[in-house]
Symmetry: none
């Protein structure tokens, strides 16, 4: 079973956006055991889209397009597909209703060109869009399957997972089953050294390492008839990796440092308070992205100014005078202060220089102090991160979450 | 002058990596005024690479490949290209020396398979690699130009900028110059209605709309001899768009709602305090991503629990009892409370239901109240957002930043 992806949108050809849809769909197809031999990107141009469709249908069983389902004149996918298969477009009333509801809920007017988004090739199976006005659609033609998704990733992903994935299952008699081992704190090359033999010797399952969002992930991929068989193929591998990497392995698949931290806090019945300076709310944002975080996350204080650190966290004025706001001592007093002031089990803090300005020889941009205070013990770490302001904030937040994780599993 | 990009690597087809090379090269070609109509990704497979090359050379003047120049057996680009053009590979001694030097400098062994990286099609112009062992190469054939880059972005980018870009200049006597008009609060379809005539009537500059990160952006693209001419072509268009969309236009190109808000606060010398419930720190995080935010951002409080809202922000217990934590009244008292408690010029707040749990008929997941309190006036908005927990947090944060922006330009 061979699939091909056609990404539609001039913004891709101008390099205005990164093609994350192609990556997402490729990962999903691989999980389903469907071979993908080509990805093509083409602009909002009828003739060239026709050309791309023609090539794709000549070499693939399943052709998937993304983009071009918007309400505007440069959104050509619906009409071009209809013409390609020589079938008519007809109005899908249910979709029309959903589009009107969607716009109404957001107090946006329904405009005439929204009609076009409810027009689909006859015989098409409509894929509802829970996050936008552009439904997708599936079409069977001869031996071919055609699937059309909207361009925005937050619309495409749920549409695939909720309405398409199960329809594609079983199209292949073998599944490709992937597991991600999530690690933090070990560099990619170092990790590949530690696991060198596994990376080279294996054919099924296979291993690959990928860096994503500050983590180093190890992807284990097994081919088998079903998930159970695939899992038993990779289980010994999982054990070996865990035994060699130890606590650097923080979770699997969808786990994140914040989700693991929230689970650990729940387990132990601890309440957390956060005091952030240079990370500016990123740590609280990450933790509160975890559903149910409110059970353990009491409060977060973004004490950016010295004034706020002193007034809100009771950091000593002399401490800041003597050692500076970016110092081990201030970080420690921030964590201890927020814990005490909010009367929680644990307090954590960040203070550093996110840049681009404010750096010096002794305290360069990227220098961050991270502290953890519980009733029993306290610890502070000096760390240094490279990158721009935004990535320094993110790296520092990950580092603190990992320290908290280690703190929680150690006790 | 038409170009086409072929990205080579099975890791792309498995979705293990994101194709940032295609985006980088697309941006560069567009700056150079070279049209790009197709991007193709293909695996490390000789037959299918041949197929992709055949298609590309039939419709483009310049074909650019990335990847497949490594030392291992699955790196097929050099040999496949030679076979495609039916010319021989020969050893390039200068490159061989550079590869040996590169490895020696890093105490890495020179292995026999590194020889293959110094083998190139005869007549090829070699592109030195300052950051790895894989040189690239250029080849003129009939009227066609072929360019082959290594896959790692940190090797490809400097190679393009230092050794290729100037050779491509002047192949086209035009540049393609793009501007983004950033808008918020007007749906894409509504926006297209308002600007319909511009979208349809224009050939140079051309208009396109794209949704990204919660904004609707309008891309204006002009072809001209130089940037000045291009800008004067788009200037009247920029004026028309601004006059029709008014305050929905919040900025241009790299502007974000948060960067605009920070500039406005600086302009007016206002100090800001933030009280967040459902957004959990996201608003503070966005604002503090802006360099220099510390001048105007005093403090952010993530008051997740009712207790914190009452203790920290002096929200009345009866208010929460009577109307609930997610209510217009609570949002208003949060904004006014954080402004008063921190003695700032402006206080802003969010309270809502980010989900997945906690929703009800009257107060469904996605319901958010956003409030702004200044010394002179207060306002609160009821909004409703769809999507998952994370996107609801982000949408609500954008909405609040936009309300603050409007509040600041109105006074």
């Amino acid at each position: 079973m061979k699939a091909e992806i056609i990404s539609i949108g001039t913004e891709l050809l101008l390099g205005h956006i990164l093609n994350t849809n192609a990556q997402f769909l490729s990962q999903q197809l691989s999980i389903l055991g469907i071979d993908l031999y080509f990805q093509t990107s083409v602009g909002d141009n009828r003739e060239r889209l026709m050309q791309a469709l023609d090539i794709a249908f000549n070499r693939a069983d399943i052709v998937i397009t993304t983009g071009g389902l918007g309400p505007t004149d440069d959104d050509l996918t619906r009409q071009t597909i209809a013409d390609f298969f020589n079938i008519n477009l007809s109005l899908h009333n249910e979709s029309l209703g959903q589009i009107k509801d969607y716009l109404k809920k957001r107090n946006r007017p329904f405009t005439p060109n929204n009609y076009s988004q409810a027009m689909f090739p006859e015989e098409a199976l409509i894929l509802p869009n829970d996050n936008g006005t552009a439904p997708g659609f599936m079409l069977k033609r001869d031996k071919h399957l055609f699937i059309s998704f909207p361009g925005p990733p937050n619309e495409l992903k749920p549409m695939f997972l909720n309405h398409v994935k199960d329809k594609l299952m079983g199209l292949s008699n073998e599944i490709i089953y992937s597991w991600l081992v999530k690690t933090y704190g070990v560099g990619e090359s170092q990790l590949e050294e530690i696991l060198k033999d596994l990376f080279t010797s294996q054919s099924n399952p296979t291993l690959a390492s990928l860096v994503a969002g500050g983590y180093v992930n190890i992807r284990i991929t097994a081919k088998a008839m079903n998930e159970q068989d695939a899992y038993s193929l990779m289980e010994p591998m999982l054990k070996t990796i865990k035994s060699r990497l130890g606590d650097a392995v923080f979770g699997y698949n969808d786990d994140s440092l914040e989700s693991v931290v929230v689970s650990l806090l729940k387990e132990k019945g601890y309440r957390l308070a956060v005091a952030e300076s240079c990370t500016g709310g990123k740590v609280s944002d990450l933790i509160t992205k975890v559903a149910g975080a409110s059970e353990v996350f009491m409060e977060g204080l973004v004490t950016y100014s010295n004034e706020a650190k002193i007034k809100r966290l009771k950091v000593k004025e002399e401490t800041i005078k003597q050692f500076g706001a970016v110092s081990q001592q201030t970080a420690m007093e921030m964590a201890e202060g927020v814990r005490r002031e909010l009367d929680t089990d644990i307090g954590i803090s960040t203070t550093g220089i996110a840049g681009p300005g404010g750096g010096s020889k002794e305290k360069p941009v990227g220098l961050v102090y991270l502290a953890i205070a519980s009733r029993e013990r306290q610890m502070v770490k000096r760390a240094y991160f490279t990158g721009n302001r935004s990535s320094i904030k993110h790296s520092a937040s990950n580092e603190l979450l990992n320290l908290l994780r280690l703190h929680l599993i150690k006790r």
